[in-house]
């Protein structure tokens, strides 16, 4: 009985160590351009909770869900991530961690207001901030490329505040390596 207990303890300890090791690993990548993301710490915890279940087991049980990487939106003339965007990115990151064969291209977009040239630069900043946030989650930078379309490819062709909200975005395009 006691022996069993020790084994259980050992397993538990190993689990905890693995978790912490994971934690440390992620933290090491959180070392660049800290300004746009004021709170990277809680993010890593969230990530570990999500990635705890054994991936191989899940694969056997159910057919893999197709990865859907959701678009995030931005405020006017801003490239900082909103709370909503961060939550979406956490989910996108989880899916990318589960599907290491997938690479993504992040496309930054703007609404129609402002000049072509400034918006190209702004769209790139949106894509870069988004990429950097995913890298914080432990996604390899090699799996992510960025491209800005500025205001050249609106999702919503209308000229209204609603359309502008939809068009200020970062999209994820899957590219299999």
């Amino acid at each position: 009985m006691k022996k069993r207990h020790t084994i259980l303890k050992f397993i538990l300890l190993t689990c905890i160590l693995v978790v912490f090791a994971g934690c440390g690993g992620s933290k090491e990548t959180v070392n660049f351009e800290p300004d746009p993301f004021p709170e990277p710490e809680p993010v890593t915890e969230e990530l570990n909770l999500n990635s705890e279940p054994d991936p191989p087991k899940e694969e056997e049980m159910t057919p893999k869900q197709p990865t859907v990487l959701r678009t995030i939106n931005f405020e006017f003339d801003r490239f900082s991530l909103t709370a909503t965007s961060k939550a979406v990115l956490a989910e996108n990151a989880r899916q990318l961690l589960e599907n290491p064969e997938i690479s993504v291209r992040i496309e930054g977009h703007c609404d129609e207001r402002g000049t072509v040239e400034y918006n190209l630069a702004l769209g790139e900043r949106r894509a870069i901030v988004t990429r950097d946030y995913l890298i914080n989650y432990g996604i390899s930078p090699n799996r992510i490329t960025v491209l800005s379309y500025g205001k050249e490819r609106p999702l919503d062709p209308r000229h209204s505040p609603d359309a502008w909200d939809n068009n200020r975005r970062a999209e994820f395009l899957k590219t299999i390596q």
């Binding site: 402002g114 000049t115 040239e117 400034y118 630069a121 800005s148 490819r153």
Partner: protein, 433 residues
């Protein structure tokens, strides 16, 4: 009190009256204060005489319309369209002299068409002296008729003012198709002879002329990344000039044609660089975590104006072409972008976000005399100066889709040059031959 004195009194009194500004705006005669005392010179334009079968009237009207528009657009002249033929002109005797209507000069002439070629013989006479200034024969293929008339207009402007005319200049712009494809197009400065240069079925943006008018630089997504291309109008071919990682955008050719200022983001952030066209070397000018974009050259080649959001919002800055002496030019308004340096050197046009959208302003390079030129519904963007610095071309959504418009430096005489489709980002070439 003589009529002249009376007029003088009116002029002195008018500024004190509330409607004075409107009264002047409606005359469309005076270039208000660009050169404080400047007043358009009057020129009499007679119908040209000639024979072209059933198209005779059409040809007479064409010469008359193109010449009068060219002379008006030069910024120097007010054209008096005259019917009939000038008095005492044909037999080379005395001509009407200045004073009868105050006109500085008179233009008359004739034309003939044979073997698919048109010949035009303008006759420009200085009214004060009665002397002939131009009496030449201009010949070209009939389909180049407009070009030929533009050339005559340029010669008239040059001989009367000493400044090169701009009637043969062209405008490059972006044409957007309904499927989102954006191609580079070119038209005459008056909106005629429109052709599409590229057929990439991609996104082509931000056309910029080489100063000699033979090449147009632009950004294209045809290979996937926003790279920089050059379209050669002589060979009708395009080459890729810059394919740095990230942005290769907002090109601006230096006044001597040897360099292109542009925005690259290869170092992780949109910065301004100078690309040496022959040597293919790049030099970085800005080092700032903010967006730095949209450079425009001073005619002296010594400075660049550009947009940066280093203060928190996009504003116009000026720096030397080695990247030093950076100073902020615009302070009013929370969003100023798209600077365009006047070829006369003294003013910079730019776009400012207003309550109704975007409007075009000018500001002296000293930071003084900020002036709003457009004030209409919709957005007015992409200002680009005429080669003589008297006019601007821009895009506006005032009548729905984006169209290209022109106006004088004081905002007067705004008119659409394109109709149908979506056209924007106009760039006005230098004077061409």
């Amino acid at each position: 009190m003589s009529a002249k004195t009376f007029l003088l009194y009116i002029l002195i009194l008018l500024p004190g009256l509330p409607f004075a500004g409107e009264a002047f705006a409606q005359t469309d005669v005076y270039l208000r204060v660009y050169t404080k005392t400047f007043q358009r010179m009057e020129i009499d334009l007679y119908n040209f005489e000639g024979e072209y079968g059933p198209k005779t009237t059409e040809m007479i009207d064409l010469i008359n319309d193109v010449l009068s528009n060219d002379l008006w657009m030069s910024g120097y002249f007010k054209v008096n369209k005259k019917s009939g033929v000038p008095q005492n002109n044909r037999n080379g005797k005395k001509v009407e002299t200045r004073g009868s209507n105050g006109a500085l000069a008179q233009v008359s002439g004739s034309f003939s068409v044979a073997n698919n070629r048109i010949s035009i013989q303008p006759h420009l006479i200085d009214n004060a002296s009665g002397r002939t200034i131009i009496k030449l024969e201009y010949t070209n293929k009939i389909e180049n008729g407009r070009y030929l008339i533009h050339k005559i207009a340029d010669d008239i402007v040059y001989s009367l003012t000493g400044e090169k005319g701009m009637a043969r200049s062209k405008v490059a712009f972006v044409t957007e198709q309904s499927n989102g494809v954006k191609e580079i197009s070119v038209m005459d400065y008056d909106g005629h002879n429109r052709t599409t240069l590229t057929s990439d079925k991609s996104i082509n943006l931000s056309p910029a002329w080489s100063p000699d008018g033979t090449r147009i630089c632009y950004t294209s997504y045809k290979t996937g990344n926003p790279d920089l291309f050059v379209f050669n109008l002589r060979t009708n071919s395009q080459i890729r000039l810059s394919k740095q990682k990230g942005l290769n955008t907002a090109p601006a050719w230096s006044p001597d044609g040897s360099k292109i200022a542009l925005t690259l983001s290869k170092d992780g952030n949109a910065e301004i660089y100078i690309f040496e066209v022959e040597k293919k070397k790049i030099r970085r000018l800005t080092y700032n975590r903010a967006i730095d974009s949209s450079p425009t050259w001073s005619p002296s080649k010594r400075e660049l104006a550009f947009t940066s959001d280093r203060s928190g919002s996009p504003q116009i800055y000026i720096m030397d072409t080695d990247g030093v002496n950076v100073r902020r030019l615009t302070f009013a308004g929370g969003y100023n972008d798209s600077p365009s340096w006047s070829p006369r050197g003294d003013k910079i046009a730019f776009v400012s976000r207003t309550q109704s959208g975007f409007d075009i302003y000018t500001i002296d390079v000293t930071g003084e005399n900020q002036m709003r030129l457009t004030d209409s519904s919709g957005s007015n963007e992409d200002p680009s100066w005429s080669p003589n610095g008297f006019s601007l071309i821009f895009s506006s959504t005032r009548s729905g889709n984006k169209r290209v418009y022109s106006m004088f430096w004081d905002g007067s005489d705004q008119k659409s040059l394109t109709s149908g489709g979506t056209n924007y980002s106009p760039a006005w070439s230098a004077q061409l031959k």
